[in-house]
């Protein structure tokens, strides 16, 4: 009887853990929208008001949301749209067109996408797939015929706005902003970009039609707020099925926040990057270690996650090189030191390596030149060294000039970590003369 009971409890724990994983994963991976954007109240109000004016009063507007990657531009916009669509008069009325600079790489594709999202295809039948000019004329006509009072407002949302500025003649931007300037159908053009100099990319005629309204999302998060965000991101909400487990979990989280080592890790992450996305990836790594045998998030998990996300990747690659390849890297380092960063070719590296072998005559690293060349080519393939002219020049391969893409400390550190490094190689690396 008791055994069965414990079994049942075990299953319950497994269920809870998988529920926790589900909730938190949706939060971290899928970027679920929060109820209210945190720390962006004024920007949120500004944007919402702007969109409301278009949706309700039929004003035409244009606005740019500018902020670094991961600062919550899309989140802000989606929150605003969500609240906007809750309004009764906006819900039925507003049309949305979502475009992304990554997908719509030229104006033709973008235009087709706009027609599709406005569901105008059936109006024109096969005309949609006519020429670009026809399509544009048709669309503009449709927008022009409308006026402030009668036609439905359209929200154009352009993600990766800076990529649209690279289109030929910026035709699409010109036309959209032109419509938003003149008294035609009400449109709002909302651009999202991470480039602060995005206005410099616009042509003069396009720039003059833009309203110069910009919303900046420059994170001004203090470390305290960062820690609070950390806590709230991990805390379970009230809707969790097993209330006892969620209480325990939340208690564990608040205990975790008081931990000294956790504080250190967070401080380190805060110093390198303040955005939420890097916090999310750290938390996902930590949360993925939570399992049935380990149902509470521990400081060790966080430590492990932070170690994983901040590992030096080049050091990792250097760790897997063979001794011969490592010797070549040291020879290159010496060449860099003696000739002050001048590029070098394989002959020089081999010469340097031979000098080392001659000094240590008992050395076992006596390889034929083609074997050494194979090692050199492997380094080229790993892009630890890179041809100076991009490999365009037709010169024999052993005379191709290359540069070492590592710095002094990286080489020395890798040498320290290298398993079973021969002593003479180590001494050669530290010796001042090549």
């Amino acid at each position: 009887m008791s055994k069965r009971k414990s079994m049942e409890k075990h299953v319950a724990v497994g269920e809870c853990v998988s529920q926790v994983q589900r909730v938190l994963r949706e939060r971290f991976c899928h970027q679920r929208l929060p109820d209210k954007p945190v720390g962006l109240e004024s920007q949120y109000k500004h944007l919402l008001e702007l969109l409301r004016r278009t949706a309700v009063h039929g004003e035409s507007n244009s606005v740019l949301i500018v902020g670094p990657r991961g600062s919550g531009k899309t989140m802000l916009l989606r929150c605003a749209l969500r609240e906007l669509l809750e309004l009764q008069e906006a819900k039925k009325n507003v049309l949305q067109v979502h475009l992304s600079g990554l997908l719509q790489t030229d104006d033709r594709i973008a235009l087709r996408e706009i027609t599709r999202q406005l569901q105008l295809e059936n109006v024109v039948g096969d005309k949609v797939f006519g020429s670009f000019a026809e399509n544009l004329v048709f669309l503009l006509d449709a927008l022009k015929k409308g006026d402030k009072s009668s036609s439905r407002p359209v929200l154009f949302i352009l993600e990766e706005f800076d990529l649209f500025a690279h289109h030929k003649n910026q035709t699409l931007l010109y036309n959209l902003l032109d419509v938003s300037q003149s008294a035609q159908a009400p449109v709002a053009v909302v651009g999202l970009t991470c480039r602060l100099d995005v206005l410099e990319l616009l042509e003069k005629r396009v720039k003059s039609r833009f309203s110069h309204r910009q919303i900046h999302l420059l994170s001004s998060l203090s470390f305290h707020q960062y820690r609070d965000a950390f806590r709230s991101e991990l805390t379970l909400q009230d809707g969790f099925p097993d209330s006892k487990f969620s209480q325990e979990w939340n208690l564990g989280i608040s205990k975790l926040c008081e931990d000294k080592s956790v504080d250190e890790i967070l401080q380190k992450h805060y110093n390198s990057c303040k955005d939420f996305r890097s916090l999310h990836s750290l938390l996902l790594l930590a949360v993925s270690r939570v399992s049935v045998s380990n149902p509470i998030l521990r400081a060790v998990d966080l430590l492990e996650a932070s170690r994983m996300s901040s590992a030096d990747s080049k050091g990792n690659i250097l760790h897997g090189l063979s001794v011969l390849e490592l010797c070549l890297i040291i020879a290159m380092k010496h060449l860099n030191d003696t000739y002050e960063g001048e590029p070098f070719n394989f002959q020089m590296v081999h010469n340097e390596f031979k000098k080392f072998l001659q000094r240590k005559s008992h050395s076992i690293h006596n390889f034929e030149k083609p074997v050494v060349f194979k090692a050199f080519e492997h380094l080229l393939q790993l892009e630890l060294i890179r041809p100076v002219d991009g490999g365009m020049c037709k010169v024999q391969r052993e005379y191709q000039l290359v540069r070492l893409m590592l710095d002094h400390t990286q080489v020395m550190e890798a040498l320290q970590r290298y398993p079973q490094c021969p002593t003479d190689v180590k001494q050669w690396a530290v010796s001042a003369f090549g």
Binding site: G14, V17, S18, Q21, R22, R25, E26, F28, C29, H30, R69, T74, S100, G101, L102, L103, Q104, T105, I109, E113, R116, L163, C194, R277, S278, S281, L284, L285, S288, R289, S291, V292, M308, S309, A311, S313, N316, I317, G320, L321, S322, L324, Q347, M348, N351, H365, F367, E368, P370, V371, K374, A375, Q381, L382, E383, K394, V395, Q396, P419, Q420
Partner: protein, 445 residues
């Protein structure tokens, strides 16, 4: 060697147990991957970047996990997919079946792909995470600029439970586009240690011999090759090639399995020869095996590089020699080498050389056509008329890639050339003409 059995709720346990056996020495990485993927119906991180050296089991571990657990996935290699359209088509047909893929237009753009993907999702919503595995992801950088950033945030673009795995040998820092992108999770597959290599390699022991014998053979093999090569695939190939040579003394009855020293003495010089020939692909593995069968001396066979000898016409040979001299000698020494009555030269000054300026280290220098012809006339004994024939020989040397033309700005008016042959090659050619080229080379004075 054996770690804990992989654990993750939501997957059948017996599958996980067999998986653990398949993935020797990669239990930790497989465990991390599995915990990142989570249960099949949970969301997973939009993109994961896996890097590590060649043959460290990146695609093996990932694809074994995905196939054994029967998750929906699409695996594409960037080597095959020369354009984005091809890749998208492959991904789509792997995820939704070939009849759904016929909805895609010919050579689809990313926009088409995302649109049709969303439509297909409506019909067949994801109950499990869909995975896209992109191998050799370093080639993505050379494809359209928007492909890599779009793949990294595909989950957001198509609004589906999809995860993209990128596999590469090169570190993530070299991938990041100028304007940034969605940062993937980075996962490193470390290299195998020597003990792990030994463990993995000795698993393909031949049934006719004891496993201990094979292990000791692998030990010897690693002793020779480990400092040069850590590529598991290469080592496995070499191990398979040379094993019958190792067993030879056993079959002849000269040694028993316990005579490890005798066996070592027999195989070690052979393996050293293998490093210079079959490891460099000088000799193909078929030739190498045949050689062992016939018990010929291992170097008797001439490798690929021994065939570098090229038969050239008389004047072409001299033209090539002249080009070599022009490339590797500084122009100021031409008077001394090629003029009969050159003025007085201070000998000490002339012979003073620095190692740094040696042209055999720095590579060939470009020279104008005039200088080539001047050296050519002084090198050739007989009188040669500058006919069209001579000039066409020069340009055909360029097409043979024995010379290269530098700077393509003017074709007719004094073009510049470089000599692109090695010292050994030119020595062989000058020997056929009984011309002592070393006497004329500044570096060897």
């Amino acid at each position: 060697m054996s770690g804990a059995v992989l654990q993750c709720p939501g997957y059948p346990e017996d599958k996980l147990r067999t998986l653990t056996e398949d993935l020797t020495c990669r239990e930790a990485q497989a465990g991390t991957l599995l915990s990142l993927m989570g249960e099949p119906d949970q969301y997973s991180y939009p993109s994961v970047f896996i890097y590590g050296h060649r043959a460290t089991g990146k695609s093996h571990v990932l694809l074994t996990l995905l196939t054994q657990l029967q998750l929906p996935y699409a695996a594409v290699s960037c080597v095959e997919c020369v354009s984005a359209g091809l890749m998208l088509e492959q991904v789509f047909s792997a995820l939704f079946g070939p009849d759904a893929a016929s909805l895609l237009p010919r050579s689809p753009s990313l926009s088409d792909f995302v649109r049709i993907y969303r439509q297909a999702c409506v019909e067949r919503p994801a109950r499990q995470t869909r995975y896209i595995v992109v191998e050799k992801a370093e080639l993505l950088r050379d494809m359209e600029a928007n492909l890599l950033p779009a793949l990294l945030r595909l989950q957001e673009l198509v609004d589906d439970n999809v995860t993209v795995f990128l596999l590469s040998e090169i570190v993530w820092e070299k991938f990041r586009p100028n304007t940034g992108c969605f940062e993937p999770l980075l996962l490193h597959f470390p290299d195998y240690t020597k003990a792990e290599l030994l463990h993995i390699l000795s698993r393909d022991a031949h049934p006719s011999h004891t496993p201990e014998l094979y292990t000791s053979y692998i030990n010897i093999l690693l002793g020779v090759f480990y400092s040069v090569c850590r590529d598991l695939r290469e080592l496995r190939h070499l191990a398979a090639l040379n094993f019958c040579k190792f067993c030879e003394p056993l079959e002849k009855g000269e040694a028993r399995e316990s005579d490890t020293h005798k066996l070592w003495k027999n195989i070690e010089p052979h393996l050293k020869k293998a490093m210079q020939s079959v490891y460099l692909r000088e000799v193909s593995s078929v030739q190498w095996e045949q050689q062992q069968m016939d018990e010929k001396e291992a170097t008797a066979l001439r490798g690929l590089s021994a065939h570098a000898h090229v038969e050239l016409p008389y004047y072409s040979k001299f033209l090539l020699i002249a080009a070599y001299l022009a490339s590797y000698n500084p122009a100021r020494t031409d008077r001394r080498f090629f003029l009969k009555h050159h003025g007085k030269i201070k000998k000490t000054n002339f012979l003073k050389k620095h190692e740094k300026t040696s042209n055999h280290l720095l590579g060939p220098k470009p020279f104008p056509l005039d200088r080539l012809l001047a050296i050519f006339y002084s090198v050739v004994d007989s009188r040669v008329a500058p006919t069209a024939n001579i000039f066409s020989q020069i340009s055909s040397l360029v097409t043979l890639q024995l010379l290269t033309q530098v700077g393509h700005d003017d074709q007719l008016d004094c073009p510049k050339y470089k000599c692109a042959v090695s010292l050994d090659f030119i020595l062989a050619i000058s020997r056929t003409l009984s011309f002592d080229i070393v006497r004329y080379l500044y570096d060897f004075l």
